[in-house]
Symmetry: C2
């Protein structure tokens, strides 16, 4: 017996089957066609046993599937055990992305979906930067802030201008094929290709356990240089849209870099303090306490982006500002949840970014030029190396503990590029060589992540770079370091030299007298600071190796 289904309307389906001879006593809803002996019955479609409405759930369904793919990929690598010891996770994820992209391309015969710049900047980047800011080792960071800013601001300028100008030279030399690339385009490209990516740097350096100072220098630079590169990028972009660029424009542009950076800082500070204040009142609604950490920091990021300020600066400042007060206000379980959730979120974002980097590499829009691609690769390496050498030579004269040559090498070599360049290059207004820029950016990213990312670990071992001390500080160490801090502040005060320790001490006093009193719950304030340290250390010991959520 053959059965056919016919859709005869939006909600009706006709079931059609041949049935000979004509059955007797047919119910009225069955129609019998005596010419071919077929019997038909109309069923409403909604009553079919099985029906699919993919469109209804498409958006969340696809997002969940991508996240699932990312999580399962991550799980697989960690489970396999041996592979991640040699190849960094970022490389493996890009390879998964390439594979998935290839499969999609093969099936659909068109380019797979790329990571949109909006999705990246609004949804994937903030969790990573928030996580980085929240777990920033405060003391270490502020002690090295001068050096970090030195690298992040001057180093980035050096790289952007160096790469931009020399690429323009290359374009002039290869006049026949690259003649239509203007100086401004080269500078624009330089600004995006100079952006060292905190995500890529973190994912590689986290697995290496180099000494804390080197880690904070590399990571702090990668975090803050984004503010500079993104601003420079936007500046050159607006220059490109101007009919002509004058000296005043350049001056205003310089001011803008400062405004963007400081603006982000203040937005972050504001939201951080409000978040701290809010957390003071969460004692009776503990369940939503962690939420405020995420909400306020995301709000600081969005507000900054809305005002064209640096969202990265804002969210990092917000996290750094709120952390000590929030952690003093909320319960131990809330604290665990906040930390866990930050790690989880950033880890998923990071995984997604690398997978999408791979997927988006499979494109129809590629354009190749040997001189441009190769010289970009070379220039990135050369300018970064010379920049680090020169800047360190200056900064070493001012630092007590100098940055060693080995450390300098790792700083220069650890300048990995990642999703930030990638997202920025897609944002460029269309012009004839945009495809070339995209291709070159992808090559530079893949080169730095694969070649530099995979060789840096053996190099660290080869150069015998100082590693991280594993042990946590003991109570006695903590007490002594505090004593020395106070002593140094006193000495600076007596000598009349208002240096780092003097200001740190002043801030501590201000913090104790006003901020802590205002931002922390009354019943949590009474504890003296040394008691707090002791409790914290005891808690860590209790938790043992579970101390920090492991990735």
């Amino acid at each position: 017996m053959k059965i056919h289904f016919l859709n005869i309307g939006p909600h009706l389906v006709r079931m059609h089957f041949v049935c000979l001879p004509q059955p007797r006593n047919l119910p009225p809803m069955l129609g019998f066609n005596s010419s071919d002996g077929s019997l038909s019955v109309d069923l409403p479609m909604a009553l079919r046993v099985f029906s699919v409405d993919y469109h209804h759930v498409q958006a969340p369904f696809e997002i969940v599937l991508w996240i699932m793919l990312a999580s399962l990929a991550k799980l697989g690598f960690h489970w396999s055990g041996r592979v991640p010891a040699v190849v960094p996770e970022s490389c493996l994820l890009i390879m998964v992305g390439l594979l998935v992209g290839g499969v999609i391309y093969g099936v659909r015969h068109s380019a797979p979906p790329t990571l949109s710049a909006d999705a990246f900047f609004l949804f994937l980047l903030p969790p990573i930067v928030l996580d980085a800011g929240y777990f920033l080792p405060g003391r270490l960071f502020f002690e090295n802030l001068g050096t970090i800013l030195w690298y992040a601001v001057l180093g980035t300028l050096w790289n952007v201008l160096g790469i931009g100008l020399s690429l323009y030279g290359v374009c002039l030399l290869a006049q026949s094929s690259l003649g239509d690339v203007s100086l401004l385009h080269c500078l624009l490209f330089g600004s995006l290709i100079a952006a060292v990516d905190p995500v890529a740097v973190l994912s590689v350096f986290q697995e290496m356990h180099v000494n804390e100072q080197l880690h904070i220098l590399v990571f702090g630079e990668s975090l803050l240089n984004d503010a500079v590169t993104v601003v420079l990028y936007k500046l050159f972009e607006s220059f490109l849209r101007l009919p002509s660029v004058s000296g005043v424009d350049v001056l205003l542009g310089g001011c803008r870099v400062v405004v963007v950076g400081l603006g982000g800082l203040f937005v972050g500070l504001f939201f951080g303090l409000v978040a701290a204040l809010t957390s003071r009142f969460t004692s009776r609604a503990q369940v939503i306490a962690p939420l405020f950490v995420f909400l306020y920091s995301y709000l600081s990021y969005l507000t900054s982006e809305m005002l064209h300020l640096s969202g990265i600066m804002a969210i990092v400042t917000c996290a750094v500002t709120m952390k000590q007060y929030v952690e003093a206000n909320v319960s131990e379980r809330s604290k665990t949840s906040i930390q866990y959730f930050l790690k989880m979120w950033s880890s998923v974002s990071e995984t997604l970014i690398f997978i999408f980097l791979g997927v988006s590499t499979i494109q129809d829009v590629h354009m190749w030029s040997w001189p441009f691609v190769c010289s970009t690769l070379l220039l990135c390496l050369v300018w970064r190396a010379t920049g680090v050498l020169l800047l360190t030579a200056v900064v070493n004269k001012l630092r007590r503990n100098a940055v060693t040559f080995r450390d300098q090498f790792i700083i220069a070599y650890g300048g990995l590029r990642g999703a930030i360049c990638f997202s920025l290059v897609f944002l460029i207004d269309d012009f004839p060589k945009k495809r070339l820029f995209i291709t070159t950016t992808i090559v530079v990213i893949l080169f730095t992540v694969f070649v530099q990312g995979m060789t840096i670990k053996p190099l660290v071992e080869l150069l015998d770079v100082k590693r991280k001390k594993r042990a946590l500080p003991t109570v006695s160490e903590e007490i002594h370091s505090r004593l020395i801090d106070h002593l140094l502040a006193g000495i600076e005060d007596v000598v009349g030299y208002w240096g780092q320790h003097y200001w740190k001490d002043k801030f501590e006093q201000f913090n104790r007298k006003y901020l802590r009193r205002f931002l922390i719950r009354e019943d949590h304030q009474a504890r003296s600071s040394i008691l707090r340290v002791y409790q914290e250390l005891e808690r860590r010991e209790q938790r043992g190796d579970e101390e920090a959520p492991r990735v």
Copy 2:
């Protein structure tokens, strides 16, 4: 000196000011108009110190602001301390919503945004149901499953048909104004207005601490009856689109109710087992372990919705299935994070739903009819009360511990309506009386939440309904209850009566022999079950009052 700004292009602004007499040595970018002595300079807009691009961040910004409003409102109520003791939180939140809606209406002179049915069913409902399923007291639920299903399936049918048919009677009586409402429309409306809302029920009952059995009966019914009401709703909706409805359609509809429920169950079971299996391998990537709980359960929900099965059934089953295995597999900190996050998410969703209920009440689409609104209110109460009385009379003959009359009263009175009705009524295809349906639904929701929700607590005290025992079970209690379980299973086996205890024991054996071995990490399996109970109790004791995250 007057300064004017003129936008003269997408990225240029002309600054215009009068300056007399003509200054000498003007830079070339400044233009001097000698006729009126005005001086103008063109500045690129990007270089203005302050510029706003709201559109870019609008979607996430507004979502974050709504969540922020919800969280701050919740925080405020909990902080104030005294108000929530009298008025349930849901009422306060609806009032905040009304206020916000009123302000928006006053400012914009148009209706504020309503909660779209998609946003509700795809994003706000799943976290609440997931939370409910995950924290479902398993033993209690399965012991009362028969009664719960009895109420949820038969009770809902009773309510839907009763309300629908008698409303049709009312429409026939008030022929002049309600003559155009058909029987099917009445049944459709009956199916949505009969939907007892788990969110509203939970938020009221959580604050009351009635005895566990009463709680699980009310809450279990509200959870499972949604599957029935939603299916009935869709059924009547598809009947409305048919030219005529025959007996076979009704029969097929009945089958569909079963398919939808069981289908959801199996989808949930499948994803639950896969989630449990996945969690077995998360030991080396602990940070993303909690993620799988959320991903798989959401996936089960979306898959069910896609296949037109019951998403609520699926997500509850998924949560119940995975819970014991996942909690055995992941670390203590992951477990805390999962629990905390479920609570946080569901709490925010719930808050948002109530606020939006308030906001959406401020509408231009209202239509009023005294006979329809009042009779609906009355019929809802009457049919629910008679339903509970009748069904309990039958079920009490089969239960060992009967449902007392006081409990019956609370079950009937606790049938609060909420956002599910609200979302469903907006989904009805347009017809002349749709506005009346919307208004009536809102009135019923507000009546049940405000009047019933606020009086139920005093009533519970007045009737002296049995309260919850506060103490956690001791080890000796646990051991004895296990012993009795085994004994009863043995007795049932000997007697040859295969009842509840027999099947429970069989499942436990199967679980121990196959499921646990397959789904739980090797190093976590060895522990005997009594040891696990002991550890769990010890852990609870350690945590003291922090045992469960408090709302």
